[in-house]
C-alpha cells in the first residue's frame, strides 16, 4: 500500500528518493501540478478523497506524512 503511493510519486519525479525525503514542499520538489495529480491518483488507487482542508504543506512534505493522511481518511 505504501508501495502504491511510492509508485504514484515516482511516476511524477523518478529522480527523487521519496522514502527518505521529508522536504517535498519546503524544497519545492512538488509543484501545484503534482499536487493535483497526486490527489487524483490517490482517489483512483485508494478510493480516498483528500478534502481541501487536508491540503496542507505538512501533509505533503513526505511520503510518510501523505500515507498517514491516507490511512486516517480510510478510517473515517
Amino acid at each position: 500500500m505504501m508501495e502504491e503511493l511510492l509508485d504514484i510519486l515516482e511516476e511524477l519525479h523518478d529522480d527523487v528518493d521519496f522514502e527518505t525525503c521529508t522536504t517535498l514542499i519546503d524544497d519545492k520538489i512538488l509543484d501545484s501540478f503534482d499536487i493535483v495529480t497526486i490527489v487524483a491518483e490517490v482517489n483512483n488507487e485508494f478510493d480516498v478523497i483528500i478534502p481541501a482542508a487536508e491540503l496542507t504543506p505538512e501533509n505533503f512534505n513526505s511520503a510518510k506524512a501523505l500515507y498517514a493522511l491516507i490511512e486516517r481518511l480510510e478510517d473515517e
Binding site: E11, I25, A52
Partner: protein
Amino acid sequence: MQTNVLDYLEHTVKRVPDKVAYANESDELTFRQVHDYARAIGTAVAHQGLMREPVVVYMQKHPKAIAAFFGVVYSGNFYVPIDEEMPKYRVELIFETLQPKYIIVDEVTIKHIETLDYQGEVRLFDDLIDTKIDENILAERYDSQLDIDPLYIVFTSGSTGIPKGVVACHRSVIDYIENLSQVLQVSEDTIFGNQAPLYFDACLKELYPTIKYGATAYLIPKQHFMFPIKLIEFLNEKKINTICWVASALSLVSGFRTFDTVIPQYLKTVAFGSEVFPIKQYKEWKRVLPDARFINLYGPTEATGMSCYYEVNKEFTLDEVIPIGKPFHNTGILLLKEDNTEAKGDEIGEICIRGTAVTLGYYHNPEKTAEAFVQNPLNTAYPETIYRTGDLAKYDDEGNLIFVSRKDHQIKHMGHRIELGEIELNINMIEGVTHACCIYDQASEKIVNYYVGDVAPRNIKKALKEKLPRYMIPNVVRQLEEMPMTPNGKIDRKALAASYKENRRK
C-alpha cells in the same frame, strides 16, 4: 498624447504617494518608493551609457523586481525579466540572443549569475537604489524615448529549441492597458491578486493598471497555488477584489471543493485565460460568487497580452465552451482560411491580429519574425503588419469567436505556452536517444513523451531538468521498442495519442 508608460507612474505618485502599489505576503512598496527606487536605478543605468539596450532583471518574484522594471525604463532602455528558476542552459541560450550588457540581480540570483560565463555589468538592486537621483539625465532620457521604442522583451518557447524574445513598445502597452482597464473596470479601489510570473506578459494586467489608477497589486506567493484554502484566505486577508488567473489556477480551487471551507469575500472581477476554463468549474465559482463578473480573456504574447474578451452573461451547458468573444477596442481580428480569404459563416480560420497592440517582433530573429508578422493579405495597397497566431477559431451565431485548436504542436499546459517541438529537440540531443515524440493528453493534462533509445526513462527527465523550465518537463516518459510511423515516414502522433488514452483507461 501619452507616449511613455512612465507617465502613469508620474501622475499617480503625485496623487497617492503613500498608498501601497505592490506588495507580497510580508513586504510592500508605496508609489513613492517605487518612483524613488525606479529613478535611482534609472540614473545608475543611464550613467552606464546604455540607451535602447536590453537590461536583464534577474530577480525573485518581489515588488522590488517591478521597481527595477520601471528603473530600466527611466534609463531609456528596455527590461528583460528572466525566471530565477530557469536552468542555467536556458539562461545562456537567452543571453546568446540578447547579448545583455547590464543585469540587475538580488542577493539570491547573484549567485546564479556567478556560475555563468558573463562579462557584463551585474548590479544588486539594493545597491542601485542608493544612487543619487540625477533629474537631468532622467529628463534627457525621457525626452529621447519614442512610443515605438521597446519597453520590454519576454521570452517564449520556440519550436527550433531557441526561445523567442517578443519585443513590445510603449505604444502597444498603453493601447492594451487603456482598453483592458475599461473591460476590467479598474479604479483606485481595485486590489489585484496577481498569479502570473513577472517574466511573462500576463503580469502586465496587474502591473500597469496599478500605476495608471493608483490601485494596489498583491503578488500571491506561488506556494499558495498548491494549497487552495491558504490561497482564498490570502485573498480575504488582503481584501483582493480582482483576479486575472490562468484557468487551471481557478480549477484547482474549485476542483478541490475549497468553497466548502472558505469563500472569497471581496472578489468582484474574475478574469481567466490562457486556456479553456471548464464549464463545470466555472459554475462552481459562479455559485459562490453570484454577483461577480466573469471575463474570459484571449491573446498571444505577440499582441502584447490579451486581444479578445468575453464577459460570461448567460448559462452554459457542460458540453459547451466559453467563447473568446470579441476583440478589444482598437484591435482587429481577421479569421483567415488556408487560401488567405476570410472565413465566413461557421468556417474555421486562423486568428490573425491587427492593431497597435501587435508587437515589434522577435528580438534578433528576422526569420521567425517574418513567418508570423506578415503583410495583411487582404490589403495590397500599403504596408500593414498582422500577427498570425496559429490558433484556429470560428464564429458562433452571436459573432463571438470560439477557439477550435492549434495549427501546429504548440500547447497550453497549466497556463504555460509550450512548443512540443522544443521538448522533442532537447530529448533528441540526449545521448542514446534515436527517436522522440511528445504528445499532450488534454484529458489528463499531461505532457507524454515517447522515445526510442538506449537510455532509462529516469535519465530522460534528469537530462531535461538541466535544460528546460520545470513546466516543460514531460509528466510521463515511456520507452518504446520502435516508433509508430505514418506511411509518409513521419512519427504517427495520432497512434501514440490513441495508445496513451487506451492504456490510461486500463
